[in-house]
């Protein structure tokens, strides 16, 4: 495949030359963890620009707002480390949201939540299975799922938003530890958990191996197809979690919810430093990317910038993140 949707990896012996990194180790650390530098810059800029930014309350807001993309990003990171992509996360979130609220009255709140979560896992599984069995690239499969799942959402909800009839439902996530909401805590919990998986478990090492050099992984006996299905399922499940929590926060489920959230998600992950080509990245990087993105959006809103600025900034940031990613990878391997 040519240098486009699935960026081809070059695994001939020649490219595995030794890295004579003549740069200082400090520079090397900054290169690898550049997201934190961005975050710092971002926070400094906005703290100066707006007095409301650096308040405890606002920081709590940033974390909570970011958490929703955060769940999607955690899942996307897993999939991206495998060298794949999942464009349907937004639609899956919307579906789970709709099911959580829509089924409340018929089967009860908690059963509805469970169904919602399962739906996320289910569609993630379908994505993974299709990728593994058909050999079609994940971007086509999930581009299709993006449409198809959104269609299912609309079929379920009709064109109107669903509303919860039980007001206390919206109180569930309203637990705070200082400024940090339960939602944010759950997000960090998941991020920590999956980082642990990545670094300490067989599945985590497999994730890197498959993304890094799928052929070697396969020859080493790793069941690549089964592995990818697992990661896609997890990604869907996390989108389901985000959907449930969002429905709790808003009390409603709109059929158009999370319309271009996959875009934000990709921005957050790529910005954080995880590579599209697979095999390189971590949950820490993604957390950094998510928080930076949330801070950026939050800061812009506080400054009362009009809506379109957000979209333009996001598009530009994404392109810059790509350029950065490219310069870092190409300077590392000639």
């Amino acid at each position: 495949m040519s240098n486009s949707v699935g960026v081809k990896k070059d695994h001939t012996a020649k490219t595995m030359t030794s890295i004579q990194s003549s740069s200082l180790s400090i520079l090397r650390i900054i290169r690898a963890q550049h997201i934190w530098v961005f975050l710092l810059i971002c926070m400094l800029v906005f703290s100066f620009a707006s007095p409301y930014f650096f308040t405890l309350n606002n920081i709590g807001n940033v974390l909570t707002q970011g958490s929703f993309i955060g769940f999607l990003a955690v899942g996307m990171t897993l999939v991206m480390l495998n060298g794949e992509i999942d464009l349907s996360v937004g639609a899956t979130l919307a579906l789970s949201s709709a099911l959580a609220i829509g089924l409340q009255d018929s089967i009860g709140i908690w059963p509805a939540i469970i169904v919602a979560l399962l739906s996320g896992a289910f569609f993630g599984f379908i994505n993974g299975a299709l990728v593994a069995l058909s050999g079609i690239h994940s971007f086509i499969i999930t581009l299709g799922s993006l449409m198809g799942i959104r269609g299912i959402v609309f079929i379920f909800t009709g064109e109107e938003a669903l509303m919860t009839s039980d007001y206390s439902y919206t109180e569930y996530p309203e637990i705070y530890l200082g400024p940090v909401s339960l939602t944010a805590m759950i997000f960090f919990g998941f991020a920590l958990f999956f980082q642990w998986i990545l670094s300490k478990t067989k599945h985590g090492l497999e994730t890197y191996a498959v993304g890094d050099n799928e052929k070697s992984a396969h020859e080493a006996g790793i069941r690549v197809r089964r592995h990818k299905v697992i990661n896609f399922t997890l990604c869907g499940l996390l989108a389901g979690v985000a959907g449930v929590l969002l429905s709790m926060r808003l009390g409603t489920a709109e059929p158009n919810a999370a319309r271009i959230w996959e875009l934000w998600t990709i921005i957050a992950v790529v910005l954080g430093g995880t590579r599209l080509t697979g095999g390189y990245g971590s949950m820490w990087k993604t957390v950094g990317g998510v928080i930076t993105l949330a801070a950026l959006l939050n800061g812009l809103r506080l400054l009362n910038t009009p809506n379109y600025i957000e979209l333009i900034v996001m598009g530009t940031v994404l392109v810059l993140a790509l350029i950065l990613d490219k310069t870092l990878t190409s300077s590392q391997s000639r």
Binding site: L263, I312, L318
Partner: protein, 319 residues
């Protein structure tokens, strides 16, 4: 292996068309409105717009890349042409719009062809950027042509020439030109070679960066033409008018049998794919299904179409 390829070709030609024919039969049975002249003309007018864009995007896809920005591009350009029509008149408005379309295509082409960034992500970013630009330009409000009845601008979207709607003529000629360029010129050869093997093309002296850039410019231009037709037809534009077109266009291209991996495909396949898709969507609507059911059907059909294509290429169904 050869047998499977023949089966796939047959399936694609006859299977899809066969299925399509059955579908047409079912729809016309249940909905008398389907096969009326008025409906058919409506559908092919709509298909012309999607098709114009799809012709341009086909060039991009054959090089093995994507352009997901066409939907927001369409929105922006339609808003532009309608609004400018009221300000500087149709002629200059059209000029601006086409110029803008070339410019946007150039930006895409530069980032993807010269800086070699991932086309999926770049065009997604452009999608966002263009949406923002549209909001900036229009302030969120709708624009309308002030004199829809008198202006000659109506020619593009609302007139007919020998009983065939003008948009269809434009689409047809664009397909002819596009097909000629793709199949009969050096440039077209280069497009195919890049899709087939980009490295080898570079080593063979093909100016890969430029060819990719021009492919994106073509994609932009196609969208620009579509915007003019759309603006003329609707005589107005809201900031969501182009939403979802990128998916419809891609679906049409995939349905037509052009491979997403690049290196093969034709304009006429795209034309067929987009037309079939248009009638399927229309048919579903007439059968009483809500518009969002189309998405599900499109999803299933795309997966099937690509799967069959890949299965034939590699000689077995599963990977």
């Amino acid at each position: 292996m050869a047998l499977l390829k023949k089966a796939s070709d047959a399936a694609q030609k006859h299977g899809l068309i066969g299925g399509f024919a059955i579908f047409l039969a079912v729809v016309s049975f249940s909905s008398p409105e389907f096969l009326t002249l008025g409906n058919i003309l409506d559908v092919i007018r709509q298909v012309s717009i999607t098709g114009m864009i799809a012709i341009g995007v086909t060039f991009v896809v054959i090089t093995g890349r994507l352009d997901l920005s066409v939907g927001s591009m369409l929105t922006l350009l339609t808003v532009l042409v309608v609004d400018q029509h009221n300000q500087v008149g149709p002629a200059i408005a059209i000029a601006y719009t086409l110029l803008a379309s070339l410019l946007i295509g150039m930006v895409n082409g530069y980032l993807i062809g010269f800086m070699r960034l991932n086309s999926l992500i770049v065009t997604l970013a452009m999608l966002s950027l263009l949406q923002g630009a549209t909001l900036f330009y229009s302030g969120g409000s709708n624009v309308n042509v002030t004199n829809p009845q008198e202006t000659w601008f109506r020619f593009f979207g609302r007139s007919e020439f020998i009983d065939i709607p003008v948009p269809v003529w434009i689409f047809f000629f664009a397909a002819l030109v596009g097909s000629f360029v793709l199949l009969k010129t050096n440039f077209g050869r280069w497009v195919f070679s890049i899709g087939g093997n980009e490295t080898a093309s570079l080593f063979s002296g093909v100016q890969t960066r430029w060819v990719v850039l021009i492919a994106y410019v073509i994609s932009g231009f196609g969208t620009g033409l579509a915007a003019i037709i759309m603006g003329s037809r609707v005589m107005g534009a809201q900031s969501t008018i182009g939403q979802g077109y990128e998916l419809t266009v891609l679906s049409g291209i995939i349905l037509g049998g052009t491979s997403m991996l690049g290196g093969s495909g034709t304009i006429w396949r795209t034309v067929i794919g987009v037309t079939m898709l248009g009638f399927v969507q229309n048919g579903l609507l007439l059968l009483g299904f809500a518009y969002y059911v189309q998405w599900l059907v499109t999803w299933a059909v795309i997966i099937l179409a690509v799967w069959i294509d890949l299965a034939a290429k590699r000689g077995r169904v599963f990977v």
